[in-house]
C-alpha cells in the first residue's frame, strides 16, 4: 500500500490490468488535477486501502479482480463506517445487467462500463473528476483540518 498523507484528495484505483491502470493514470493526468492516486491490484489489497481511518476521496473499482472480487470490496467499504459515504464508481468491462443491479444494491454510487474508445474514456474521467472529486473536497479538507 502506498498511502500518502497530503492535502490532495486520494483516488483509490482498484485495477489488476496494468494497461488499464496506465490508461487511467494518463487520463487523470490529462485532467491536470493534482490528485495522488493509490492503486490496489487485487481485492484484498483494495479492502486494506479503503477501510482505513481516512478513506480515499474516490474509489474507482473494477469488478473482475484476483482475490476478493469487486463486489466483496464494495461490501467491505460500505461496512466500514468512515468509508460509508465514500464515493465508489464501478469502472468495469462488464455491461451485464445483473452486475449493474448487484453493484447498485451493494452501495455503488455509479456504474460505468469501460469505453473502448479512448476519447470517450477521457470524457468519463473528466466527468468523474468534476462531479465526484469536487463534491467530496470539502469533506476531505475538513478531515485534514481535524488532523
Amino acid at each position: 500500500m502506498n498511502s500518502t498523507v497530503s492535502k490532495q484528495p486520494v483516488i483509490l484505483l482498484v485495477e489488476d490490468n496494468p494497461d488499464d491502470e496506465m490508461l487511467a493514470r494518463r487520463a487523470f493526468r490529462a485532467e491536470s488535477r493534482d490528485h495522488s492516486m493509490t492503486v490496489a491490484r487485487d481485492g484484498n489489497d483494495a479492502i486494506l486501502c479503503a477501510t482505513t481511518e481516512k478513506p480515499p476521496a474516490l474509489v474507482l473499482l473494477d469488478l473482475n479482480l484476483p482475490g476478493a472480487d469487486g463486489f466483496a470490496v464494495l461490501e467491505a467499504i460500505r461496512r466500514h463506517p468512515p468509508a460509508a459515504t465514500t464515493p465508489v464508481v464501478v469502472l468495469t468491462s462488464s455491461a451485464d445487467a445483473k452486475d449493474i443491479t448487484r453493484a447498485y444494491e451493494l452501495g455503488a454510487n455509479s456504474y460505468i462500463t469501460k469505453p473502448i474508445d479512448y476519447e470517450e474514456f477521457m470524457q468519463v474521467v473528466h466527468r468523474l473528476s468534476e462531479y465526484w472529486l469536487d463534491l467530496n473536497r470539502d469533506g476531505e479538507e475538513c478531515a485534514d483540518g481535524a488532523q
Binding site: 490490468n17 494497461d19 488499464d20 490508461l23 494518463r26 473482475n64 468491462s93 462488464s94 455491461a95 451485464d96 445487467a97 469501460k114 469505453p115 473502448i116 474508445d117 479512448y118 476519447e119 474514456f121
Partner: protein, 621 residues
C-alpha cells in the same frame, strides 16, 4: 272324467234338486186333488142325503099317518133294494115308537147317526137321522145308512191314476233332466278337463266349439285364451332361451349380483377371465371378487346406481383371479388379479324396485399391459429427453458462459490496443510520416471494429441467458421510436418510414426492442442508398400465429442464401459496402426463438428484402 252320480257333481245336484221340486209339486198337486175329491164327495153325499130325505119323507109320512106300516115296509124294501142309490138300510120310527126297518140293520143295534155329513169321508156307511113331517106336523123320525163306497171307489181311482201320472212325470222329468244335465255338464267337463290341462301346463287341448250357443262361445273364448297363453309362454321360453344363449355365449363376462353383492349367476366367459368355475363363482360376492383397493370404487358405483339413479357406471378394477391349481381361494395369500373394465347397471322389477346388479366385465389385461408398456416407453423417452435437454442446457450455458467470458476478456486487450494507438496518435501523430499515421488509423479502426463485434457477441450471449419477462408491448410505438432515433443518428439519409399503428404482442419489451432495432436498422442501412428509400413495419394477415414483418426497398439479397443470414458473422454483402458486426440477425433469431417463434426472410437482389418474425401468444413448450 267324473262319475254320473258323484254326489258332489253338478249334474247330480241338479238332478236331485229338480226331482225334489218335482216331488213337492206333485205332492201339492195330489193334496189339492184329494181336497177337491173330498169336497166333491161331501157335495155328492149331501146331494144323496138331500135327495133321499124327501123321498123317504114322502114314502113314510102318509103311511105313518095312516098307520099302514106294512105298506111302508114294502116301500122301504123296494128302495133299499135298489143298489144304485147306495142305501144300506132305512129305519122309520113313528111317534108311538113303532119301528119299521129295512136293509142291512138290526133293530136293537141301531148305529148312532153321524152329527154331520163330513163323516162321509171317513166311514163306509154314513148314518143320517131326520124328522119326518107332513104338512108341517112331525109324524116320525127316520134314520138311514148311505153307502159311501161308490164315492170312495171314485176317490181311490182318482188317486191311483194321479199317482201313476205323477210317477210317469217324475220318471220323464228325471230322464229329461238327466239328458239336459248330461248335455250341459258334459261341456263343463270338457272345460274342467281343459282347464286342468292348462293348469298342468299342457296347452295342446282344443275344446270343441260347434254351434253358436253360449257354450260354443265359451269354448271359442277358452280356446283363444289358451292359444294366447301358449303363444306368450312360447315367446317367453324363446326369449329366455335367447337370453340364456346371450348370457352364456357372450364374448364378455356377465355376472349378476344380488343387492347384498352376492353372486347370483355368472357366465362362462367370466369364469374363463377369472380362471374359476361357475360353481366357485357362485360362492363369491362382489366384495370378495374385488381387490381391496378397488372395492370402494365398486361401492361408489352401487350407490350411484341405487340412489343417484344413474343408468350405468363404468370403471376399471382388479378382480381376483385364482388358478384352480391353487387349493381354495387364497384371498389373503395375495393371489393374482385380472384387470377388468366393469360396466355396472341395476335391474329393477316391474314396480321399479331394485332387484339385482348386472355387471358386464371386459378383460382388459392386454390393454393394461399395452398401457403399461406405452407408459414405460413414454417414461423412458421422457427421461431420455430430460437427460438430453439437461445436457443441452448445460452445454448451452457452458457455451454462453464461455462466449461471455471470452468476449469479456477479449475486450481488455482490444481496448488497450485502441486506447494506446489513440494516445500515440494524439501525442506523436504529427511527428510521424503520412504512412505511419495511416497505420495508426488502421490499428485504431480495427480495434474499434473488433470492440463492436465483441459487444455484439456479448449482446447475443446476454440475449441467450437473460430471463424472459413477458408483458404486453406496443410494437408500433417501439418501431416509431426506433425510426426517430435512426433519423437522429443518420442525419442526411431521408428514409420514408411507414408503420402500421396498433401492432401489439406479449413479449420481453427490452428484447423485442432489440429485434426491431436490428431489423429497422438493417432496413435503413440497406435502403438508404436507394433513390426513394422506404421501410415498412406491418403485420402478415391470415397468419396462424401473429406474424410481423419489416420490409425495405433496398439492395435486397439472393433468396438462395437466406438461410445463412441468421448465422453469426455471416454476411451477404461486402463489409466495405455495408458496415455491421454480422451478429445482429443472429441476435434477432435468438430472441424470437426464445419467445417460441421463428424468423425468416425473403429477398430479391435490387428489389428489397422482407424480414418476418412470429411471436406466438404463449411460448411454445
Amino acid at each position: 272324467m267324473t262319475l254320473p252320480f258323484n254326489h258332489r257333481s253338478l249334474r247330480f245336484r241338479l238332478l236331485l234338486a229338480s226331482t225334489l221340486v218335482e216331488v213337492v209339486m206333485l205332492a201339492l198337486l195330489l193334496a189339492n186333488t184329494v181336497r177337491l175329491i173330498n169336497e166333491a164327495m161331501l157335495t155328492s153325499a149331501d146331494n144323496a142325503v138331500e135327495q133321499m130325505v124327501p123321498t123317504l119323507n114322502v114314502i113314510a109320512a102318509t103311511n105313518l099317518v095312516t098307520g099302514d106300516l106294512a105298506t111302508l115296509q114294502d116301500n122301504l124294501n123296494a128302495i133299499v133294494g135298489k143298489r144304485d142309490q147306495g142305501l144300506s138300510y132305512v129305519v122309520i120310527d113313528d111317534l108311538d115308537g113303532e119301528r119299521v126297518l129295512a136293509g142291512n140293520v138290526k133293530a136293537d143295534a141301531l148305529p148312532k147317526p153321524h152329527p154331520d155329513l163330513s163323516a162321509a169321508l171317513s166311514v163306509s156307511i154314513l148314518h143320517v137321522a131326520r124328522p119326518i113331517t107332513l104338512g108341517g106336523q112331525l109324524v116320525g123320525t127316520m134314520q138311514f145308512g148311505l153307502s159311501t163306497a161308490v164315492i170312495a171307489r171314485a176317490k181311490a181311482d182318482l188317486l191311483r191314476q194321479g199317482a201313476i201320472i205323477a210317477a210317469i212325470e217324475i220318471v220323464l222329468t228325471f230322464a229329461l233332466l238327466s239328458v239336459v244335465g248330461y248335455w250341459l255338464t258334459s261341456h263343463l267337463e270338457a272345460f274342467v278337463e281343459g282347464s286342468q290341462a292348462v293348469a298342468q301346463g299342457r296347452f295342446d287341448l282344443v275344446l270343441p266349439s260347434k254351434g253358436e250357443d253360449e257354450v260354443a262361445q265359451l269354448a271359442t273364448n277358452f280356446n283363444a285364451m289358451t292359444a294366447a297363453v301358449r303363444s306368450r309362454i312360447d315367446a317367453l321360453a324363446r326369449s329366455e332361451a335367447e337370453f340364456r344363449t346371450l348370457f352364456e355365449q357372450a364374448a364378455v363376462g356377465i355376472v349378476h349380483f344380488a343387492l347384498d353383492h352376492q353372486v347370483i349367476r355368472a357366465n362362462t366367459k367370466l369364469a374363463e377371465i377369472l380362471d374359476l368355475t361357475r360353481e366357485e363363482l357362485r360362492t363369491l360376492s362382489w366384495e370378495t371378487l374385488s381387490s381391496p383397493e378397488d372395492w370402494p370404487a365398486a361401492q361408489e358405483a352401487c350407490a350411484a346406481l341405487l340412489t343417484a339413479g344413474k343408468a350405468s357406471v363404468e370403471f376399471e378394477a382388479r378382480w381376483r383371479k385364482e388358478s384352480r391349481t391353487v387349493t381354495g381361494y387364497a384371498r389373503d395369500k395375495g393371489g393374482a388379479f385380472a384387470w377388468v373394465r366393469v360396466t355396472a347397471s341395476l335391474h329393477r322389477d316391474a314396480n321399479g324396485s331394485p332387484s339385482y346388479y348386472i355387471a358386464v366385465v371386459q378383460d382388459i389385461a392386454a390393454e393394461k399391459a399395452a398401457q403399461a408398456e406405452v407408459a414405460h416407453y413414454r417414461q423412458h423417452l421422457e427421461d431420455l429427453v430430460d437427460a438430453r435437454t439437461h445436457d443441452l442446457e448445460a452445454a448451452n450455458r457452458e457455451l454462453e458462459a464461455f462466449s461471455y467470458s471470452v468476449s469479456h476478456d477479449l475486450r481488455a486487450p482490444v481496448r488497450t490496443i485502441g486506447s494506446f494507438s489513440a494516445i500515440l496518435k494524439k501525442d506523436v501523430g504529427k511527428k510521424l510520416d503520412e504512412e505511419s499515421q495511416d497505420f495508426l488509423d488502421r490499428i485504431n479502426r480495427s480495434a474499434t471494429r473488433m470492440a463492436q463485434m465483441i459487444d455484439a457477441l456479448l449482446e447475443l450471449s446476454r440475449v441467450g441467458r437473460a430471463e424472459l419477462r413477458r408483458e404486453p408491448c406496443d410494437l408500433s410505438v417501439i418501431a416509431l421510436e426506433m425510426c426517430d432515433e435512426l433519423k437522429q443518428v443518420r442525419k442526411g439519409q431521408e428514409v420514408e418510414c411507414v408503420i402500421e399503428p396498433g401492432l401489439k404482442t406479449v413479449a420481453d419489451p427490452r428484447l423485442i426492442a432489440l429485434v426491431l432495432q436490428n431489423l429497422l436498422g438493417n432496413a435503413w442501412k440497406f435502403s438508404s442508398r436507394q433513390p426513394k428509400p422506404k421501410i415498412e413495419f406491418t403485420h402478415l394477415p391470415k397468419a396462424v400465429k401473429p406474424t410481423f414483418l419489416v420490409r425495405d426497398n433496398g439492395v435486397g439479397f439472393d433468396g438462395t442464401h437466406s438461410g445463412r443470414l441468421f448465422a453469426p458473422f455471416q454476411r451477404l454483402h461486402a463489409e466495405s459496402a455495408f458496415e455491421g458486426t454480422g451478429i445482429g440477425l443472429a441476435t434477432v433469431q435468438r430472441i424470437i426463438q426464445r419467445h417460441g417463434g421463428r424468423v425468416w426472410a425473403e429477398g430479391v437482389p435490387g428489389k428489397g428484402a422482407t424480414f418476418y418474425f412470429e411471436i406466438p401468444a404463449e411460448k411454445a413448450p
